[in-house]
Amino acid sequence: MKQLGFFLLFFLFTSQTAYAEFDIQFAIDQAKTGDIIHIPAGRYEGNFMVKKPIILRGEEGVELYSQNNNPVLKIEHAANVSVENIMIRAKNKGIVAHEAENLELRAIEVKDVQVGIHIQRSKHVRILENRVVGNQSHYAEKGNGIAVFKSEDIAIEQNTIEQVQDGIYVEEVKQINVQRNKVKNSRYGTHFMYSSGVEVLFNTYLHNVTGLMVMMTTNLEIANNTVSSHNDFNSYGLLMYDTQQAMIRKNSFQNNRVGVALQKSSVIQIQENRFQMNQTALEGTKVDDGSIVNDNQFTGNILTARSDHQGFRLVRNFYDDYTGIDVAGDGFGDVPYVAVSSFGQWMVRQPVYQFFVASPSVMILTSLDQQINKTEQNLLVDNEPKLLSDMKETAFSINSIQLLIGLVVSMCGLWFWKRGMRV
């Protein structure tokens, strides 16, 4: 039995490294244009370089690793390269592509790295179904999950990224599609800088410092994303700074410190989104008149909107704290909804006021505001507040254990009370 155990252990050990003798770099160097290199299962140490149009395809259990600071896999000055199904561990960068064209990176797992995938000066790149997990250090000491610089026509789809600085970092990129990715526990879920032609669709951002950070970028579409639980001291669901021409629609912003913040931005349309249970749903400073917030659902937010003196336009949104009625029967409230509150405005000007957020004193102040500000006509006013929410009602259900506990506790309380009166 003992011998059999040793044999199995030996077998397991050797099977892990059985094909590690396979020389990947030699195979790459020998390959002709368009060749497929099948990498056998095993662990391979090195810094591999691809400079020709080939396909690198790993069998199940292929791991490339490096113990120095150079990237594990570098793709340089190459077109039509494809890398699939491998695992990478690196001290610094996992994969670096420089001046690549028609590159596809698929089903790659990058772990314990500083930077997962780094693309620079490349065109027509597809990064699909990869998984990047960073290390446990502080955000300042981490690198990005997927970083793209000065490139064109990029697709980043169905990747899972966690514990990195920025899940997806994009700088000076034209035409990029970020779709169906999941980023969590990172600094920024996705971070755009100086880019244009951006599509961000069906992604999930959870528990990052900020879900989406967009800076100095133009021509964006951000749609159907779930942005939830960004609650740190400086957290935002989506923060847009100096951004022009953006359509933000059908997203769900839930349980964030601030759902969406617009700073110095213009021609922004925020449409058909769901803002639910955020501390502040919308915040705007220096937002131009061309921007509009329409047909959204605001439910359970502590503060619906706050802004500087410029404000922004609110049109046909649903607000769960709207108290007006619809005598005309057109589906819209007869009196305008005024989102402006003194406290919200103060908080924009003096951040220290945030201490009082949702405190008893502020709740009374806000109630008074709602009466006094009914005459407000310009700032954060929705003249056509929608009266019907399109949220589905939750199904009726009974939690019998809690019901029983509740009955026992309340009955005990009443019994003690009665007994106390007789003592």
Partner: protein, 266 residues
Amino acid sequence: MFVKIELKQILRSRWMQLVAFLFTFVFVAIIVIQQMALPETEGFTRQTASFLNVLLFLLPLFIVSIGSMNIAGDIESGWYSLLKTYPMKRRQYIIGKYVATSLAFLLVVLVAFGVVLALGGFLGGVRLPIVLVILTLLCIFIFVSVGIVLGAFAQTKLFALALSLVVWSFFLLLISYALMALGAFVAGHVLQKLIIVTIHINPVEWLRFGYFIFSNQASVLGPAFYGVTKFYMSPLGHVIYGIVTTLWIVLPLMLATKLLKEDRQR
């Protein structure tokens, strides 16, 4: 024995019974309405804010008014003078009052929480965060103490009621409004320091601050308070929080004993 008699009197009081009903009704109504309107989620939401505000609004008001009138009523009716003829120290009287009033309000809260859980069961389950339960207990322990000192100072029921309302509004609203108004004239960092001082000298803010600290939601208070929240989230901070809370309970009771003693000397 004294505690038993006091507890019986408080529980028999129509005031207390009305307060129990009112608190349970309002508390349950708000929690259940919020539960029906909003999905369950973690973090600081309008639901938890309502929860917290109901506690901070109603409980201190009821406790302080009933606690103070209880003592003032004893003095006014001569019951306290009668008790002094018994071999009972002033300290024992104050502690007896404190224990009896605390127990009575614990019963109120027990009933309210029970009804919330029971009705919540019909709605698929309602969350009753443990931090809020602990906060409720601290709220009772601190404000019963404050109520007793106010009663000892007031000496008549009417004055005790008026004083309770003033102190309650001062703690709950006026200090905050004063600070907000001050913010229009002073720099942000000055206001921040004033708020930190206020946290320690206002039991309502102290409890509210405690909620954010112990529920790991200190970020709600904003980046300006990163330093102070980080400190209070450390083990040493927890100890300091415990010490300050104890002081908020003990000091008013000591002051109440002193006030009764001075009254006798007068």
